[in-house]
């Protein structure tokens, strides 16, 4: 009985104290991680907010920190994202459709494709830069250091994100809808085009936005495929030279000596604020889409 009492009796004080301090320790871990995000946002805001202005958005970069702006970088990023969307939507959705609606899991090549996509998602981004350099910028396609090669490199990088999201969206369409459509005499293609795809649009859109929000902040692959650091014109076509927001930030943080009153680092902070602002709008849209979609189904 006494042994029993030790186990299920009232917890003694030491035990309670240990329990409480463990709980506090775990909470501290969580708090530190979330707190760092707060410190980071505040630090960037304090450094950069004074430099945000219409001029900053409209000016070209300059060797004079007082006159420098981000217009070419902003347009470069918009062009890159456009190339990215036109690449990842068709390819990502088609791949997802193939894997969900047609592929036979028992065939080795389908399993290989799946494993391959999982692995691609974890390849370091700078390795995609090397791929872009060897195949798109030089080598077989030799596109040069232009918007098209940069956008495609980013597209390849985030393609797994789109594929995985699109597959989940397609899988979430109830089989009864497919069966109903087929029972009414629709072919498999008609079923996919008129039933499955429309029903999975919100899920796919969410995935695409999340993919773009990853692509928009990627710096390393763009360095390798040759986004320029000092460009004073906006891209005009897919074969223009370009710069991009993260590249501009990188250049202002470590590309040039910051001396006394010609300090570029606050400009980097201001550009970070613009980039983070864009990111938040994208993420908010994705969350809004996801919530709306979840409520309906």
């Amino acid at each position: 009985m006494s042994a029993h009492g030790q186990v299920i009796g009232r917890p003694d004080r030491g035990r309670r104290a240990r329990d409480l301090s463990f709980r506090l320790a775990m909470l501290t871990c969580l708090g530190l991680s979330v707190g760092l995000l707060g410190v980071l946002l505040v630090d960037v805001a304090v450094d950069g907010i004074g430099y945000l202005s219409v001029d900053f958005l409209m000016n070209d970069p300059s060797s004079d920190a007082g006159k420098a702006g981000i217009q070419p970088a902003l347009w470069g990023t918009i062009y890159l994202m456009a190339v990215c969307v036109f690449f990842i939507v068709p390819v990502g959705v088609a791949t997802a459709l193939y894997l969900e609606e047609f592929a036979d899991d028992k065939r080795w090549w389908n399993r290989a494709i799946e494993l391959n996509i999982q692995n691609l998602a974890a390849v370091p981004s700078i390795v995609y830069g090397i791929l872009g350099l060897a195949f798109l910028v030089r080598g077989p396609l030799s596109l040069g250091q232009v918007v098209l090669s940069g956008g495609l490199t980013l597209g390849l990088l985030v393609l797994p994100v789109v594929i995985i999201a699109a597959r989940e969206a397609i899988r979430a369409v109830p089989p009864s809808i497919r069966e109903g459509s087929m029972a009414l005499g629709a072919t498999q293609w008609q079923t996919i085009w008129r039933q499955v795809l429309p029903a999975s649009v919100p899920g796919i859109a969410t995935g695409v936005i999340l993919a773009l929000s990853r692509a928009i902040g990627e710096t390393a692959p763009l360095i390798v495929v040759g986004a320029a650091t000092f460009i004073t014109f906006n891209p005009e076509s897919l074969s223009s030279a370009y710069t991009a927001m993260p590249i501009q930030i990188f250049d202002w943080v470590s590309g040039r000596p910051s001396t006394g009153d010609n300090d570029f680092r606050p400009l980097a902070a201001a550009a970070i604020l613009v980039l983070m602002g864009l990111l938040m709008v994208m993420n908010a849209t994705a969350i809004w889409l996801r919530n709306r979609y979840e409520k309906r189904s």
Binding site: R15, A25, L37, A122, T219, V224, G226, V253
Partner: protein, 283 residues
Amino acid sequence: MLLLAALISVLTTTGIVVSLLGETISFFGEVPITDYLFGTKWSPLFEPASFGVIPLVSGTFLITAISLVVAVPLGLGAAIYLSEYARPRTRKAIKPVLEMLAGVPTIVFGYFALTFFTPEVLRGLFSMEVTIFNALSAGIVMGFMIVPTIASISEDAMSAVPQGLREGAFGLGASKLQVSLRVIFPAALSGIVAAIVLGISRAVGETMIVLVAAGQLPNLTADPREPVETMTAFIGATAKGDIPTGSIEYQTIFAVGTTLFVITLLMNMFSIRMVKRYRQVYE
């Protein structure tokens, strides 16, 4: 048609492997592979050139180790709190914040490490004598970058542990601390290992934080207060200049890229294996 699209992903992998291997093989035509793998001096761009990759690998692993010292306790602590203690509402509110932390572009973390963490925290708060570029600051900030990865995957693994195990332990009089550490933690171990391995592979492959904040100096050292160069930072720094195709500089990018790719690929395969294992046990 659709199969063709699916093949693009396979083509990407093939492209990565082919592009890396081609130039890497020509690189090893000029530099003996043993010099590369075992050499302790890395100065490919200056005369006399030396191609020992060990300083880059050691720099990479030094920073990765520092980031793990930060990320493993914080990530696992956050995961235990979210999975065992937090109310569903708290959990729902915190998860998007962690996702946001994971979505911060790494160049921003680089800026933060260089302009805030080194001068204000390391030199200011802890009055440490560190050079302005150092492994410690880059490593700690990178640790915070991978906390969400570790926290969210291991939280999934902990939540997947059947409720019955918890109830059984509570029924025997175990406290929440005992349940968390002696029941949930071991039961979710393979998921936790997978999370950590994935975190390592993100840390090894991360470029911008180290390029900005760790200095670009191939340095065979274990002292985190000194500047180091990682494999990724070398690739970034070298590719920035317009280097001629086929030159030895061009080839070093690919040789180092291959080394990096092989390391992260092995880790990822291992992590996929581990995740599969915990899914099979409890679902």
